[in-house]
């Protein structure tokens, strides 16, 4: 996957993530596997302790995760202006 992303250009917002995940709700709704599977950029990963890590810097900003997550699990918005992925082909 790292290979696939190698050609992409990002302007990462080091100060804030545009994705916030409610770990408790994610656990009780059991939507971890769904989030991990849906994201083609592999932003989400299940950690050994059962939490879900969010590598927001890799995000393509498509919104698929937010569309399939149980309500309330994700607070997902676009990165701040000029930040995030910057497509050169599109």
């Amino acid at each position: 996957m790292a290979d696939r992303l190698a050609g992409n250009r990002y302007e990462t917002d080091e100060e804030e993530s545009h994705i916030h995940l409610d770990q408790d709700l994610a656990r009780t709704t059991g939507c971890a596997r769904r989030l991990v599977a849906i994201c083609p950029a592999k932003v989400y990963a299940e950690e050994a302790d059962g939490t879900i890590s969010v590598e927001y810097a890799a995000c393509f900003e498509c919104g698929a995760c937010a569309a399939v997550a149980e309500p309330g699990v994700l607070t997902w918005r676009y990165p701040r202006g000029g930040m995030g992925i910057s497509l050169r082909e599109g």
Binding site: R4, N8, P40, K42, A64, A67, R88, G90
Partner: protein, 434 residues
């Protein structure tokens, strides 16, 4: 401060510099209106992703020199529709020089196309604000009066939500609910660089002619959706589009489906030697007419993907031409509303009237049943195998006496899980829907 006391900064605020937003802004600026075009990307196009085929005639209505001046990649003169199975493939190869004159469709890369559209807008007098994320719409007494971006507020008579398939603006204004997942598909795409000469040789196209592959079957591991492969000048756009409800139900990682398509033995040779220059994803509105809801409210209109204006007819997948048409219609409606001094929902009704009368509105109506038809499971696995089995029976000369093609088909059909009533029902539904 009363509403009357606040003089709007612009006649119109357009949020999102994609195809729909740029066309709306350009048309209104041409008509002499003051327009600001706000884009969250560092430049128009830097957040925008399409499969890549634009049915371009409508764009020529806006920019008569579009085909010679815009950064188009190749003219599509060959359409390849393919049922792809694990170890077999049956396709229709449609090549026609009539598709080249007049030009019917072109491949585009949005980072280049939208940058060009943004420049045309600026030339026409649009004030372009890139690198700005709009955080919310401003409303007063239920009417949209502007937008807020960070600490800044901008006011206008009309706000145009051209902020794409996830349209936060349309949702905030109450025009869209959270979309059901069968109305959305995930497009996963790579751009693979290859020399122009290699592309021309591999795909049998000369000069600036190009090919569009529409693939169904094993390319998506049986998940509702399809694969695509489009030739650009010196790269190939290749990817899969997967219906979200089915993708979630089957639980397969989207990246795995994408890799499966790219490494399929019938696809990999087309990409051999190429470098992935970009890999990204985008949601696609697949709900058809059901997804197009209210597109106007007091002080605001919704255009393009934000309005759910995309069409999958099975053979063609369209979005950018409908976005263009909606931009033209929105500009017409807004101009009339501004001229009449009434930008309420009733005053902006000319947009829907113009859209409904356009080819875009009529096509959405014509293909209203297409999404339900394309949700039929058999399309994505069984028909491809059945077709290949019939062809195998016809071509496989195993020294047994030959049978009439009718009997070969009958036998293949008997072995297939497809039943006669399925074929009949799907056939009828297909004829009605498409």
């Amino acid at each position: 401060m009363t509403t009357e006391a606040v003089e709007p900064d612009f006649d119109v605020i357009v949020v999102g510099a994609g195809v729909a937003g740029c066309v709306t802004a350009y048309r209104l600026a041409e008509a002499g209106r003051s327009v600001v075009l706000i884009e969250r990307g560092e430049a128009p196009g830097s957040k925008n992703l399409s499969g890549g085929v634009l049915y371009s005639r409508v764009m020529e209505e806006v920019f008569p020199d579009f085909l010679t001046q815009a950064p188009v990649e190749r003219r599509i003169t060959r359409n390849y529709v393919q049922f792809l199975n694990g170890t077999s493939s049956v396709g229709i190869d449609y090549q026609d020089s009539r598709l080249s004159d007049p030009v019917n469709a072109v491949t585009v890369l949005r980072a280049r196309l939208d940058a060009w559209l943004g420049e045309r807008c600026e030339e026409a007098g649009v004030f372009l604000m890139p690198g700005v994320r709009v955080d919310e719409v401003l409303t007063e007494d239920g009417k949209v009066v502007g937008v807020r971006a960070g600490d800044d507020e901008l006011r206008a008579h009309v706000v145009v939500a051209a902020d794409g398939v996830n349209s936060f603006l349309a949702r905030a204004a109450g025009l869209r609910p959270q979309e059901p997942t069968n109305h959305l598909a995930l497009g996963v795409k790579a751009v693979v660089s290859l020399p122009a000469a290699t592309i021309e040789e591999r795909f049998h196209c000369a000069g600036d002619e190009g090919v569009a592959y529409a693939v169904v079957g094993d390319c998506t591991l049986g998940i509702g959706g399809g694969g695509f492969l489009y030739t650009n000048r010196d790269s190939i756009s290749v990817g899969v589009v997967l219906r979200l409800d089915d993708l979630v139900a089957k639980g397969v990682p989207s990246s795995e489906v994408f890799e499966h398509f790219l490494t399929h033995p019938f696809v990999a040779p087309l990409l051999a030697g190429g470098e992935v220059s970009e890999y990204a994803s985008h949601l696609v509105a697949e709900g058809g007419l059901d997804m197009v809801r209210e597109i106007t409210t007091d002080g605001m209109v919704v255009v393009g993907d934000a309005a759910g204006l995309t069409l999958n007819t099975g053979l063609t997948v369209r979005g950018m031409d409908l976005a263009t048409a909606s931009g033209i219609a929105a500009a017409t409606g807004i101009e009339a509303a501004l001229a009449a001094g009434d930008t309420s929902k009733a005053g902006l009704a000319g947009y829907r009237t113009a859209l409904t009368a356009s080819f875009a509105g009529q096509d959405m109506q014509t293909y209203a049943k297409a999404p339900a038809f394309l949700e039929r499971e058999r399309m994505y696995e069984q028909y491809g195998s059945l077709l290949a089995d019939i062809m195998y029976g016809a071509f496989n000369h195993d020294l047994r006496p030959r049978r009439h093609l009718r009997d070969v088909a009958k036998r293949a059909f008997k072995r297939s899980p497809v039943r006669l009533r399925d074929l009949f029902s799907d056939g009828l539904a297909g004829v009605r829907a498409l």
